[in-house]
């Protein structure tokens, strides 16, 4: 992956860090997928498992932070090695946040699925989660393969997620206006949708960090911000 150092143990330490990131990534991916599956299938057992899984991410984030500090102190890395290590710290905190957001979705499962909910409520959310998961997987794949040329695509997809979120917001609002009994479930689903949208943002953050690790340059600042749900209002005569 990176050029060999004279000291093999340094390479081992760096590889250990990236392996730990990969482990966190795997957990985060699984947590998000399972949280949404638990929601759609109203499976409270699966939801509990997701909540428990979060402890792993918290512990790993700490471990990576500590390891990274030790490596910096011991090896005094420069240039790409330093970027690799600082990048690992940043990516691990993004992944930890993704885990938290997944856990939050799982915690809402019981409240949402208390009554029998119609399938149409979940269709949009599933599609949104599909986009965010694709985003997350691609970003972590880029981290694995270091093929930064795919990163522009990741940012485009973030735009798509934002647009989908805005549309979902509108849809859920309509259901609440149709029937006040939907309000409990829909409010929770709105939070779930927001969480998924945030997961997409964290994935984009990771993409930026990876780009920095590999090229040494930051991506341009202008980042698409397409979330327009703040301007969505319920129209009484709609």
């Amino acid at each position: 992956m990176q050029n060999q150092h004279t000291m093999r143990s340094f390479d081992d330490e760096l590889n250990y860090l990236s392996d730990q990131i990969a482990a966190m990534g795997g957990y985060a991916e699984r947590m998000v997928a399972e949280a949404v599956a638990a929601l759609v299938q109203s499976d409270s057992g699966l939801a509990r498992k997701v909540v428990e899984d979060d402890a792993f991410l918290d512990a790993k984030e700490r471990e990576i932070g500590e390891r990274a500090v030790i490596i910096i102190g011991k090896r005094q890395p420069v240039a790409d090695d330093l970027r690799e290590i600082v990048g690992a710290i940043r990516i691990s905190s993004d992944l930890e946040r993704i885990g938290d957001l997944g856990k939050n979705i799982a915690k809402r499962v019981v409240a949402v699925t208390e009554g029998k909910q119609p399938v149409r409520l979940f269709r949009g959310l599933e599609a949104l989660a599909g986009l965010a998961l694709t985003q997350l997987k691609e970003v972590l794949d880029v981290y694995a393969s270091r093929s930064v040329e795919r990163i522009g695509f990741v940012r485009d997809r973030d735009e798509e997620i934002d647009a989908m979120y805005t549309s979902l917001f509108r849809e859920l609002l309509t259901y609440m206006m149709e029937d006040p009994r939907n309000i409990t479930a829909c409010t929770h689903l709105l939070f779930c949708a927001k969480n998924i949208e945030r997961i997409g943002d964290h994935a984009t953050n990771i993409a930026e960090t990876v780009h920095h690790i590999v090229t040494g340059r930051q991506l341009p600042l202008e980042r698409p911000k397409e979330d327009q749900s703040h301007s969505v209002v319920a129209e009484p005569d709609a």
Binding site: A22, G26, G130, R146, M164
Partner: protein
């Protein structure tokens, strides 16, 4: 003397022949010496290359040393010596790899699935190679088919029962009326029978679309290898759509140009994509009276774009992200009168995902809609040979 030379050349010739046969599977530098028909000198990489299931060989640090062709096809080409744990991040996978490296005796199997781009499920086994090689092998057995069939059954029942119930209820209602109050009313009878016929046709279309979607989902995921000229393909589709266009009072204007544009794809599936897009443009954009079809590629390294533009009422912005979902309809009323099933664009999206291509939509109310299909550029000649 001469005979002696001829004798020593023979095995060399055989070895060269074997190498020539294998030249696509291994780099020149790693061709080991082979004695024909001798099992002891059989190189492991040859054996691994002959395995049709994805297979990786890795070392005690978890770095990938070798991936066979099936693995590259299924999970994308791998950079050498990259960590296996980075590529396969699932927690179960990490456990499996650590367990086998730490020297667990019996080889264990786990289930591994990838959800994107297409759902795939594998049974994965890891085991040590030999006693002191320090190498391990990871093998994948594709189980997607069985999983897909299960899922398809569940989805089909859910979707079909939901979507077929409406027309069925209406047919049942009319039958009741025909047997009761409208028994002797010839005019009403004719009218009702017409509605019933429309409803049964709708059910038939729905079943057709559901089946074609399910069939797509059933097919094993495989990146298309064949290259085809998308310009010629689209031109063919335009010809076949002329009658639908004239029925709807629109004209299809082709601005495709003459230069062929190559993409990787299955022609039947791509025909279905463009048929669906053009049919939609004819049906929902008919008020614009023309449809513009164009194709472009800025340079051989850029993506190929095919554009289908109509000048109808357009799609309200808030619906755009959702239109490829199953049974999502922008306007239920128009969709019904246009005999839509709500599945056309999901079929399109599904096919494009399998082609590594994507669909983008630009539209604003009152300004028509533009559907653009983006194909990835085809790698320069010698596909599949570029292994890092």
């Amino acid at each position: 003397m001469l005979r002696h030379i001829a004798k020593s050349v023979a095995p060399l010739k055989q070895a060269l022949q074997t190498l020539a046969n294998r030249k696509n599977t291994t780099e020149p530098s790693e061709r080991p010496r082979v004695v024909r028909g001798d099992i002891d000198s059989l190189p492991a990489v040859y054996l691994a290359a002959a395995v049709l299931d994805p297979l990786y060989i890795f070392d005690g640090a978890g770095s990938i040393l070798y991936s066979n062709e099936a693995a590259d096809l299924a999970f994308g080409p791998m950079t050498k010596s990259v960590s296996l744990r980075l590529k396969f991040r699932a927690p179960e996978m990490h456990e499996l790899v650590s367990r086998v490296i730490s020297g667990a005796e019996e080889s264990t199997a786990i289930n591994y699935s990838e959800r994107v781009p297409v759902e795939r499920a594998y049974r994965v086994v890891a085991s040590r190679i030999g006693n002191d090689t320090g190498l391990y092998v990871l093998m994948f057995k594709d189980q997607s088919e069985a999983r897909r069939i299960d899922r398809m059954r569940a989805d089909f029942i859910a979707n079909a029962s939901h979507e077929l119930r409406t027309p069925l209820a209406s047919v049942a209602g009319f039958i009741e009326t025909l047997r009761g109050p409208a028994r002797d009313d010839a005019k009403a009878r004719e009218n009702f029978l017409q509605i019933m016929q429309n409803q049964t046709q709708r059910m038939a279309r729905l079943i057709d679309d559901l089946l074609s979607l399910s069939r797509l989902e059933m097919k094993p995921y495989q990146k298309p290898n064949a290259q085809l000229d998308v310009v010629a393909l689209v031109r063919g589709v335009i010809e076949s759509m002329r009658h639908i266009a004239s029925e709807n009072g629109v004209e299809i204007v082709s601005e495709l140009g003459d230069a062929p544009l190559l993409v990787a794809g299955h022609s039947d599936e791509l025909v279905q994509v463009f048929e669906n897009l053009l049919e939609n443009a004819c049906k929902y954009g008919s008020s614009g009276e023309r449809i513009l079809v164009s194709a472009e590629q800025a340079s051989p390294m850029d993506e190929v774009r095919v554009r289908v533009q109509d000048f109808g009422p357009g799609i309200p912005e808030e619906h755009i992200p959702r239109i490829t979902e199953r049974f999502y309809r922008v306007d239920v009323e128009t969709s019904r009168t246009q005999k839509g099933t709500g599945l056309g664009l999901s079929i399109v999206k599904h096919i494009l995902t399998r082609h590594d291509a994507r669909l983008s939509v630009k539209s604003a109310s009152g300004k028509g809609a533009t559907f653009v299909v983006h194909f990835p550029p085809v790698p320069p000649s010698g596909t599949g040979a570029e292994r890092a």
